[in-house]
């Protein structure tokens, strides 16, 4: 039981329990008899009242009371009402009294709170009485979420203004900063007020500044109390977040396969030829462009979108002289992997930028914000973030607070991002990668239980740093040359191995990559790779990927030919954390036609254990796969893979017959 010490009862206690049990049992038996026989006498209602007052969660008893009230009210004739107009009132008054006694017994009883709402909806009780009641319960437990919910219900029912309720949260917070419930309600009310642009809440800058001041008091009073930090995080989000999605990256500027990366919110939808305009000399019109979201679910949303252009033949000739046209499109990719890819080091040669090839290292093109109106807001936002940064540096100089450090890291990252999106040509602001990385490595040490969280954040910042300039990215680019004389293939491979990466990010900078080596990291997910539409060779060996459902994003990579997933953790885990992110009958993201009907089982392969592998690999057109070094990679499973992927030519380095 919650909070009850584990000790045997004394004989006296035992006796008392037995007496209570007998009493309660008798109430229950009597009550059920009345309920089943629809007896609504005064005596019956009294038994029911005793029952809910000693066991407030006995839902059937509350239901019975509602039936009884309805029965009694409807049995009053109009003449009764005329002679005694208060009789209805007194019936409901009694219900209010019963809920109060039940709540006194258990102020977390859903049944009792709901019964009171039912009475209120029928027009009984006054706002003063309800606010008084709430005062009692919120004093008893300032975090009682039932009471807070009830307060919102009463406020809405009695049309209390958001401002009045906001003042109540201010009072509660001033009383005690450590009240997450009050901060939460504040965020709800303030969102309404800001959204409706109520007088005094527009423009938002003044309000946000005041809120910041309020929450700073809480944070500086007790930096280790979490209550204010989440509110602060939300406030910063209001300042930092880009309200409308921005078209941020596109690659290539012109070409056969135009890909667009959108940022500013989780995912976007509604990308189509009317919302995205493409100007190019090579194709005719936008009208026939079909944009597809690069998403593994059916949501119609994604951060990355792709479309295919059809060329005008007379202009195509023209464009051949254009270096950007060397886009290494699909046809070249397919041809290239007709030889087996070897990930051995000797195949890779350091990349030297030569004029002829420089066009091949195409950086995705960031699109800058050029809206003047936004620039005003940007200045205020950047200034606020800069102020916050200096404030938290000050806090951290006095105390070693982990959420403070995390907040500083986030602020610095946000400032960098704001500068990038709004960069004017003459600006050369400091970029804070090193400081942020240091903060995260420090956090891993001071807060070991959450070290994997910080490590994921660290990885994202590290990748931002690596991809931030052409110079830093080139350090990780290699030429892949096949030794066979017949081959004329030459890939540029991005090698991000041995970086302890636990998470992938900054994909928007890497949309052009065809060959990617992420081996010897700590990845357990490949989310994001779906945006790299030109990828044909991918090395994920020696990571921590634990389930085939984690490979779902790869299903969207139509050019992928060679995949190395050797030395991971496939088959080593009983819990699959990607189970619900990939499409399957479990989450109703596949149609009724999703079945293995046309697939003949292989001896020793249990269908229910390999559906993830089946659903991933049947959609991949791989010619080469390395899977050695995983628990699951035994002979039967390999036979299964060969059957699922008829296109496969090499499995674990062995040429298939």
């Amino acid at each position: 039981m919650h909070g009850r010490p584990r000790k045997p009862p004394t004989p006296e206690e035992e006796k008392a329990y037995d007496a209570k049990a007998a009493k309660l049992r008798s109430l229950q038996t009597q009550f059920l008899h009345f309920h089943h026989n629809q007896i609504y006498t005064k005596e019956a209602l009294e038994v029911c009242a005793k029952l809910v007052e000693s066991n407030p969660e006995y839902i059937t008893a509350w239901n019975y009371r509602k039936l009884a009230v309805e029965h009694i009210v409807s049995s009053h004739s109009e003449s009764d009402l005329e002679s005694d107009p208060d009789c209805i009132k007194s019936i409901f008054k009694e219900e209010l009294r019963v809920t109060e006694r039940a709540l006194a017994k258990n102020y977390k009883s859903y049944g009792a709170w709901y019964h009171r709402k039912w009475v209120l909806r029928k027009g009984h009780s006054s706002i003063d009485r309800e606010l008084q009641l709430l005062q009692v319960f919120l004093k008893q437990d300032t975090r009682n979420f039932h009471a807070w919910n009830y307060r919102r219900f009463v406020a809405a029912l009695k049309n209390r203004s958001d401002e009045e309720e906001l003042q109540f949260t201010t009072d509660m917070i001033n009383d005690n900063f450590s009240n997450y419930s009050a901060w939460h309600n504040r965020s709800v009310l303030l969102s309404h007020l800001l959204e409706k642009k109520v007088d005094g809440y527009f423009p938002k800058e003044k309000v946000l500044t005041e809120e910041n001041d309020l929450v700073h008091q809480a944070l500086f009073t007790d930096p280790d109390d979490q209550s204010g930090w989440f509110y602060h995080h939300w406030l910063l989000d209001q300042i930092v977040k880009i309200k409308t999605p921005l078209l941020v990256y596109t690659w290539p500027p012109h070409g056969s396969n135009l890909e667009v990366w959108v940022d500013g919110c989780l995912d976007v939808e509604g990308v189509n030829s009317s919302t995205i305009t493409i100007e190019s000399s090579m194709h005719d019109t936008n009208k026939d462009l079909v944009w597809k979201p690069l998403s593994t679910n059916n949501s119609g949303r994604a951060q990355a979108w792709v479309t295919h252009l059809s060329f005008l033949e007379e202009k195509l000739h023209f464009s051949q002289a254009n270096p950007i046209k060397v886009t290494m499109g699909h046809s070249e990719g397919i041809k290239a992997v007709s030889d087996m890819i070897s990930w051995g080091d000797k195949k890779f040669h350091s990349y030297e930028a030569r004029p002829m090839e420089s066009s091949q290292i195409n950086f995705s093109n960031p699109l800058k914000n050029s809206d003047d109106n936004d620039l005003m807001a940007y200045k205020w936002n950047a200034e606020t973030v800069a102020n916050e940064i200096s404030l938290f540096r000050e806090l951290l100089s006095e105390t070693d607070c982990k959420i403070g450090k995390l907040t500083l890291a986030r602020l610095l990252t946000a400032l960098d991002a704001m500068i990038l999106y709004n960069k004017t040509s003459d600006s050369n602001e400091v970029v804070h990668f090193e400081e942020v990385l240091e903060l995260y490595s420090d956090l891993m040490k001071v807060d070991p239980p959450h070290s994997q969280f910080y490590k994921d954040e660290y990885s994202l910042v590290l990748l931002q740093q690596l991809t931030s300039t052409p110079e830093s990215l080139l350090r990780h680019c290699y030429h892949y040359r096949d030794s066979s004389p017949s081959s004329i293939n030459s890939y540029i491979c991005l090698r991000l191995c041995n970086l302890s990466l636990s998470r992938i990010g900054s994909i928007e900078q890497l949309l052009w990559i065809q060959m990617l080596d992420l081996s010897h990291n700590h990845l357990h997910s490949v989310e994001g790779l779906e945006a790299m539409q030109l990828l044909s060779c991918l090395n994920l060996s020696n990571n921590k990927i634990g389930s085939f459902s984690a490979l779902e994003p790869l299903k969207l990579l139509k050019s992928l030919k060679a995949l190395n997933i050797s030395y991971n953790e496939f088959g080593a885990h009983s819990v699959d954390t990607r189970r619900y992110s990939c499409s399957s009958p479990l989450n109703h993201t596949v149609g009724a036609d999703w079945n293995f009907g046309d697939w003949n089982p292989i001896d020793g392969i249990d269908f229910t254990n390999c559906w993830e592998a089946f659903s991933i690999f049947k959609d991949l057109k791989l010619t080469q796969l390395e899977i050695i070094g995983n628990v699951i990679a035994e002979e039967n499973f390999k036979l299964f893979l060969v059957k699922v992927m008829p296109s496969l030519k090499w499995l674990d380095g062995v040429e298939l017959q």
Binding site: R6, K20, N106, Y110, F145, H450, N587
Partner: protein, 365 residues
Amino acid sequence: MKEDLYLSLQPDTLPSFRHLIGSSEPLSTAGALTPLRSEANSSSDFINGYRMGEELEAEKHVNYILSVEKKKDDFESVVMEHIRINGAYWGLTTLDLLGKIGVVDSEEVVSWILKCQHESGGFGGNIGHDPHVLYTLSAIQILALFDKINVLDIDKVSNYIVGLQNEDGSFSGDMWGEVDTRFSYIAICSLALLHCLDKINVEKAVKYIVSCKNLDGGFGCTPGAESHAGQIFCCVAALAITGSLHQIDKDLLGWWLCERQVKSGGLNGRPEKLPDVCYSWWVLSSLTMIDRVHWIDKEKLVKYILDCQDKEKGGISDRPDDAVDVFHTYFGVAGLSLLEYPGLKAIDPAYALPVDVVNRIFFGR
């Protein structure tokens, strides 16, 4: 979600409680039980990263659950009488995770379950009680454990649930109209288990759940209500089952959830609250579904749960040295299952049933 029904049985609200079910009665089934941890006994090696010195007292927990099932007249059982079907689900699922559901007479359970069904199609918490979705899900889950869903009149049960969807997509718990995202989860989970999800307006149901999303990325009972780990489980699982996890800001919610782990290794349900074993389930399952479970320290949590065992008489409590109950025993064992504790069956984070049961329902031929 049954948590808060049970949470209501607070020590400060119920003056006194018999804290333990007496163990004077000898167990007829005890002989049939073999310890799950026999190999681990002799070694203090790490298995899957867990030190085996701190062990799960599997056999004692089985005995404890069976003893609770037999008691009907002590105060605790009387107080819980109206949610007996929830108690049965917690106990039986725990037995299944421990590999011991075979000791239960399934026919007896199934016939009792059917007696709890109301003419409307919904189930009551016990025989003669009013129907509510809270009890209807437990009934379906128990039948699923025994592969006996087919004893139900599927149309009748599903129509009861379908009839509780409101115009805005939300669900009422019963005919009296209380609305809560717990009921959205229950309706969606129940209908999915019955292969009837297409009978409701899923799009509106999802939209309502999303309207309950908060500043911290979590979810509350109704729009504007504070985030709470139990409520978050309901909403995340409902979104998972409907293929709508993209509606969640996984990094934001994941950070809030991983910050539920406190110094002792246990998890709390809201900021600045005490840890409690039941959150091992609510928080862990949510983190698992959004693929952020590596953000907490699993080893410390395992230790916390094991520390809450009654090593003498079996059962698990909310905090070390508190009185045990079936509810916390279930959530402790289910939490350990999600933490890949050796010897336990795997549990599905969304349907809250063993993975083999869920696979049988969705992939069975």
